[in-house]
């Protein structure tokens, strides 16, 4: 017995010694797990409000998101920033609650209330513990129906927004994005105007403008309510009918956002930031609307060009050259034409090289086919990552909100996967040729003008123009 014990120990020892695994072969994946998209239950309330529910039982919480079909693209003419002010003031007081009553009640319940707007839509989000659902809904119902937009709160918030516009000018990345939008869109299109407005547009907004927009747009028939949480359909419907029964509609019909007219402005637009150690660069153009059938091929193409860490642009400018902490490209999709741009923050001394490298990568994508390997990688990373975007209630709500805003069918998620699967090298090439034209791109740089202007002029990419931080031409 004694010897046997030693023998066994010896075997154990030897097997440990030789258990070094072969690391030259990477492990193969296991069987693909099954993922089912969350089941959407849709119904309407008697006041016309559409409701979409996804039951989620992992935690005793409920996420509600009201999606309104209008955002800052619907700001009255010369009053850009009105929707943004409106959403910021929704919880500033109702007929029966002061701004502090609302804040205290939500805090007491541990409920998070937030409201925001984009060009295409506006949102009210409420995250609540299940046990406080009824009370959270009741405060929300009051806000939806009885917000009064007190004069004093209006002036205070307007002043805060004007001050934040001033603060934004300190930030090179924010400035670059704003100037880029202003440069690519024609002056009269709402997409070229910032969601928060400008100092001039804000000063022409009156509190009654907000009250009017609230009456017109924040109505049951103009909204869809998305609920993801630990609640059953019947219980939800009962609560909503009870608390939102008096929420009234208006006769107003939401018009279409005007079509985007091409207004190409060639050249390099610089906003001066003396002494800046980095230049923020944006190179891009108008692109497509969200519902364009080319969407799927563009997503695949961008993944390869600048949509991930190993993309051509980041690999070249970060991992090969060390010019940046990160470079990327991407599309912004909207109801009407959105944009494409490539860029990032780059060491000031190499600003010109970075502009031309970005343009080279775009040109290369247009001129030649991607490889089989690139196609496979891009498709895999999009397709296999999809389940991850349905993890938390807020993520699920966001996915559903996109269906609502862009009028996509409820079976869209399946369609999305099959459309991506079917993209070929040819499809990618076709959209690259169609949308990526370096000679039709505008270039925006926020950086040290004196340091970078000569080398940018030497690129011979059109006139170098100096703009002020609001995007107005200087000199």
């Amino acid at each position: 017995m004694k010897y046997l014990k030693y023998f066994l120990l010896l075997i154990l020892f030897m097997s440990n010694l030789f258990s070094q695994i072969d690391r030259t072969n990477k492990p193969k994946e296991g069987k693909t797990p099954i993922f089912k998209f969350p089941k959407i239950q849709s119904f309407a309330l008697s006041n016309g409000l559409q409701v979409k529910l996804v039951e989620y039982n992992q935690l005793p919480i409920i996420q509600m998101q009201f999606v309104f079909g209008a955002g800052s693209a619907y700001d009255p003419v010369d009053k850009s920033g009105a929707f943004n002010l409106l959403v910021r003031l929704l919880d500033a007081g109702t007929k029966s609650r002061s701004i502090f009553d609302i804040a205290d009640e939500f805090e007491y319940l541990g409920t998070r209330f937030s409201a925001s707007t984009s060009h295409d839509a506006s949102f009210i989000s409420i995250l609540t513990l299940k046990k406080h659902f009824e009370r959270s809904l009741s405060i929300t119902a009051d806000i939806l129906q009885n917000s009064i937009f007190p004069d004093s709160e209006f002036h205070r918030v307007k002043d805060e927004v004007i001050t934040s516009l001033l603060q934004q000018k300190d930030r090179a990345d924010v400035t670059a994005n704003k100037i880029f939008s202003k440069v690519v869109y024609a002056a009269d299109h709402p997409y070229g105007k910032p969601v928060e407005g400008t100092e001039a547009s804000l000063s022409s907004i009156d509190v009654n403008d907000l009250r009017e927009l609230y009456k017109k747009y924040f109505v049951p028939r103009g909204a869809v309510l998305i609920v993801v949480g630990d609640i059953k359909r019947n219980e939800l419907k009962k609560q909503l009918e009870k608390q939102l029964a008096d929420w009234k509609n208006s006769d107003f019909k939401i018009p279409d956002i005007p079509n985007v007219q091409a207004d190409f402005k060639p050249g390099i637009f610089i906003v001066d930031k003396p002494g800046a150690p980095q230049s923020q660069i944006r190179v891009g153009c108008l692109a497509v609307e969200r519902n364009n059938p080319d969407y799927f091929a563009l997503e695949v193409m961008n993944m390869i060009l600048g949509g991930n860490f190993n993309s051509r642009i980041n690999w070249n400018l970060r991992e090969q050259k060390g010019y940046t902490y990160g470079a990327r490209s991407g599309f912004t999709y909207r109801k009407k034409l959105g944009t494409f741009n490539a860029g990032g923050g780059f060491k000031s001394s190499v600003t010109d090289s970075c502009v031309s490298e970005l343009l080279n990568e775009i040109q290369k994508m247009k001129e030649s086919d991607i490889s089989e390997e690139e196609l496979k990688f891009a498709k895999n990373s999009i397709l296999l990552s999809f389940p991850r975007s349905f993890e938390t209630p807020a993520q699920i709500a966001t996915q559903l909100a996109n269906l609502v805003i862009y009028n996509l069918p409820e079976n869209y998620f399946d369609e999305y996967l099959s459309r991506i699967k079917n993209i070929s090298i040819k499809d990618v090439r076709a959209v690259s040729e169609k949308y990526l034209n370096p000679e039709k791109m505008s270039i925006v740089v926020v950086g040290d003008y004196e340091l970078i202007k000569n080398s940018l002029e030497d690129l011979n990419f059109g006139k170098v123009q100096l703009l002020d931080p609001d995007g107005n031409p200087l000199n």
Binding site: E29, F100, G110, R156, D159, S164, Q167, D170, F309, R318
Partner: protein, 446 residues
């Protein structure tokens, strides 16, 4: 092979906020801590790996190492080419990242559950075989990348260097919290390959690491896989624990920084206390009472009523060996920071004398409790459940510390709030930094 330490079962009670996350902890022979957390709600897994090392382990003149090192871990190892770490994970539909602070460095992957083995392979290859693939060229490239990160996130950001000046004045030069985690441009330039190798050998060892794997997993299979990939990496010398070191500030330091900003901003800072102490909880709640919502003390005074501030934030930042408490407020145009400081000071003195109300404390506690639940929504990523389990394991030795942690907040009383306000937010013994627009030093606090 595995020592069974703890087994807990998922119970979720809503009556009293009780947070019980199902997990199982074991320790490999080489000292690697392994925490498994099963959850089959969607077919993904999270692999979250903590090394108990941050910039707090750096020495004077060698700042920025722990973070530069985090970058080097993405540059390939013996069997993984540069770039392949990202490529393989993303090809599998996964995502990944890493981060460094004063006390720890974490790396994570979230990917479809059938690719779990790939993530274990990659993490173990760089834990065991990184140096085989380390080159001067890779170091030079990542040093440039980190210098750009510093330009982007500090030098070219408004107020971006405030935290540097504050830390340098709260802590003496020998204290490792004296410098920023990102380091200085000079120290980064001086980092040699030898320094980097030495750092790795000392801290990137299984007995200084905690691996948490969560999601759609079979714990038995995962244990075998972890043993297969990590088991052969040898244990190294024990890493000595860092001792708490809270310096004493006996007088006020008023400093001014001119920056490319439109509006002045004041930063008032005190030294506080280490994390996971009772006073940390009281200070967190005090911070919340000062600036949390519209009805909070300082927001109401500065932003709402007097309208002299654009914003105000109070926060307690407790870390492994020390901590600090800060109040930060941005002035409206034309307002001097002196005016803002006076309002803050008199409100603090009021709280020190009269304390806060039961209602104020209750609101802050309710919000804290709700946040404990809300933050359980994500499995992986920064702050996800697997990250939280690792955090508790690394700092208090118990991954399931959720309820004890919450209890620290529940048991705070109004008299605790008054006590910590008096104890830590001293009239004499603070660092007050004024960041003002270039040429506008007349707007500074003192």
């Amino acid at each position: 092979m595995f020592k069974q330490l703890l087994l807990s079962i998922l119970i979720f009670s809503t009556a009293f906020t009780q947070v019980n996350i199902k997990f199982e902890k074991t320790v490999l022979k080489n000292g690697l801590n392994l925490i498994l957390h099963e959850d089959h709600s969607i077919p993904i897994v999270s692999v979250n790996l903590w090394y108990h090392v941050g910039s707090g382990r750096e020495k004077q003149g060698k700042s920025g190492f722990a973070h530069l090192f985090e970058h080097m871990l993405f540059q390939g190892s013996k069997n993984v080419e540069k770039g392949d770490h990202f490529k393989l994970i993303q090809d599998a539909g996964g995502t990944l990242n890493g981060s460094t602070n004063t006390d720890r460095t974490n790396y994570w992957e979230v990917l479809p559950s059938n690719f779990l083995e790939l993530a274990l392979y990659l993490e173990s290859d760089r834990m065991g075989f990184l140096l085989d693939a380390m080159t001067q060229e890779k170091l030079d490239n990542q040093r440039d990348v980190v210098k750009n990160e510093r330009r982007q996130n500090y030098e070219n950001q408004p107020y971006g260097l405030a935290s540097k000046v504050i830390n340098e004045n709260l802590y003496p030069p020998e204290h490792p919290y004296h410098w920023l985690t990102i380091g200085t441009q000079e120290d980064l330039s001086n980092a040699s390959l030898e320094d980097v190798i030495e750092f790795f050998k000392k801290y990137y060892v299984p007995n200084n690491a905690s691996l948490c794997i969560g999601g759609d997993i079979n714990p038995k299979e995962v244990k075998q896989l972890v043993e297969k990939y990590f088991g052969e990496i040898p244990r190294s010398n024990e890493v000595e624990k860092l001792k708490p070191w809270i310096p004493e500030l006996k007088e006020n330091k008023y400093l001014t920084l001119e920056d490319n900003v439109k509006l002045p901003r004041i930063y008032i800072n005190w030294l506080s206390v280490q994390h996971f102490t009772d006073d940390e909880a009281a200070l967190d709640l005090l911070a919340s009472i000062l600036s949390r919502g519209k009805n909070s003390r300082l927001y109401k005074l500065l932003v709402y009523e007097k309208k002299i501030s654009q914003d105000v934030f109070a926060y307690n930042n407790s870390a492994e060996i020390s901590g600090s408490f800060s109040i930060v407020s941005t002035a409206k145009q034309g307002i001097s920071l002196k005016e803002i400081e006076d309002v803050i000071n008199s409100e603090l003195e009021k709280i020190k004398l009269e304390g806060v109300t039961e209602k104020e404390l209750e609101l802050s506690k309710n919000e804290t409790e709700a946040n404990f639940i809300y933050r359980l929504q994500s499995l992986g990523g920064f702050g996800g459940r697997t990250d939280q389990l690792n955090r508790y394991n690394v700092f208090v030795g118990d991954p399931g510390y959720f309820n004890e942690d919450l209890n620290r907040y529940k048991k705070v009383t109004v008299s605790d709030i008054k006590r910590v306000a008096n104890l830590y937010l001293k009239q004499n013994g603070k660092v007050v930094l004024s960041v003002v627009p270039k040429g506008k030093t007349e707007l500074k606090a003192q």
